[in-house]
């Protein structure tokens, strides 16, 4: 049985009861907010912005350490603590807790571990992340709904007619990694999003534009040209 919004919010509320915690959110690997609970200032729009920034940070950590369990960040006025909830329904999920400087870290760590275990069970109970978006309050602004819909389309979606084959997209990424290094995966994903497509919906007619976007992100002109030549050679060989 899928978790209800109340289930999720009850779990997050337990984290919020720890002194110093201001908000707790769950977001997926596209940065889409799945559920949130927090003091009045942490409204939905703010939590969506936070989730988007944290998803980028998680992408960076995963370039170095794919099997991370926790990430903590200390600031001059507080802390952010992230806990990996793992892949659920084909999409990674993360619990993030916002706390002020008064947080007792040892105490909070226990509460976050407990919440993470409960969230894993709740999320793994059969609900896809798109189903969970129904747990958000009904008064989500229209702009936020559009953002959510766009994020959802970036995540994946069904292959479309004229789309580049999956294997070819992976080859393009491998070539790009040779020229940009470990940040390639992240930039590749960002440029797909800039075109409003996913790795499954990129059309053959969009490949030229996509390659130009990728090349523009390579800092050295010579390497840009080498990347362009490598792509041309690949496309002549594979006819994409």
């Amino acid at each position: 049985m899928p978790p209800s919004g109340t289930d999720m919010q009850t779990i997050l509320q337990a984290t919020l009861d720890v002194a110093g915690v201001g908000a707790a959110i769950v977001f997926d690997d596209t940065g889409r907010l799945v559920c949130h609970r927090g003091h009045a200032i942490y409204d939905q729009a703010l939590c969506e912005q936070l989730g988007a920034s944290l998803a980028k940070a998680v992408d960076a950590v995963e370039l170095q350490h794919e099997e991370w369990e926790t990430i903590s960040a200390r600031y001059s006025d507080g802390k952010l603590i992230l806990r990996n909830l793992g892949s659920i329904g084909g999409s990674g999920h993360v619990l993030a807790v916002v706390a002020d400087a008064s947080l007792n870290l040892a105490f909070a760590t226990v509460a976050i571990r407990v919440a993470a275990n409960k969230l894993k069970k709740a999320l793994g109970g059969g609900a896809s992340s798109s189903a969970l978006s129904g747990t958000l309050p009904a008064d989500v602004p229209a702009q936020s709904s559009a953002t959510l819909a766009r994020s959802s389309s970036i995540l994946g979606g069904e292959p479309v007619a004229g789309a580049v084959e999956r294997a070819a997209v992976q080859d393009l990424l491998a070539i790009y990694t040779n020229y940009l290094g470990p940040a390639a995966k992240l930039v590749f994903k960002q440029q797909l999003a800039a075109l409003g497509v996913t790795s499954r919906t990129l059309r053959r007619s969009q490949v030229d534009e996509f390659v130009a976007l990728l090349a523009a992100k390579i800092p050295v002109a010579v390497r840009q040209r080498e990347f362009g030549a490598a792509i041309r050679e690949y496309r002549e060989r594979t006819l994409i």
Binding site: L46, Q49, Q64, E67, T70, A73, Y75, S76, P182
Partner: protein
């Protein structure tokens, strides 16, 4: 913990490798078996994203990031425009390495 101290940090047996870079992700110095430039670029991106996340919720200046896994941990310390990153194994040694930074 600046460039001059990176060597002393890498002498800790729990620190398997270390990188010193600036906030833009440009490599200044590296120790151990890793691709320093690649790691520096990733750390530059990471600190930028975490700083923005902190800005959204009013947490102030980013000071430190740590992440842990089953086999290793990583500590990222931001001091002005300089970012020091230490990869630590086993992950339980992370707090000991943090104390070294605190003492410096």
């Amino acid at each position: 913990m600046l460039m001059a101290d990176l060597k002393s940090l890498s002498k800790l047996p729990e620190v398997k490798s270390a990188v010193l870079c600036n906030a833009c992700g440009s490599l200044l110095e590296s120790m151990g078996e890793l691709e320093g430039e690649s790691v520096a670029a990733v750390i530059g991106f990471l600190t930028g994203a975490m700083a923005r996340a902190g800005d959204h919720v009013g947490l102030g200046t980013l000071r430190r990031i740590a992440w842990t896994g089953q086999a290793q941990a990583c500590l990222v310390v931001v001091q002005g425009d300089t970012v020091t990153t230490a990869f630590v194994a086993p992950p339980t040694a992370l707090s000991a390495v943090e104390k070294v930074f605190d003492a410096s």
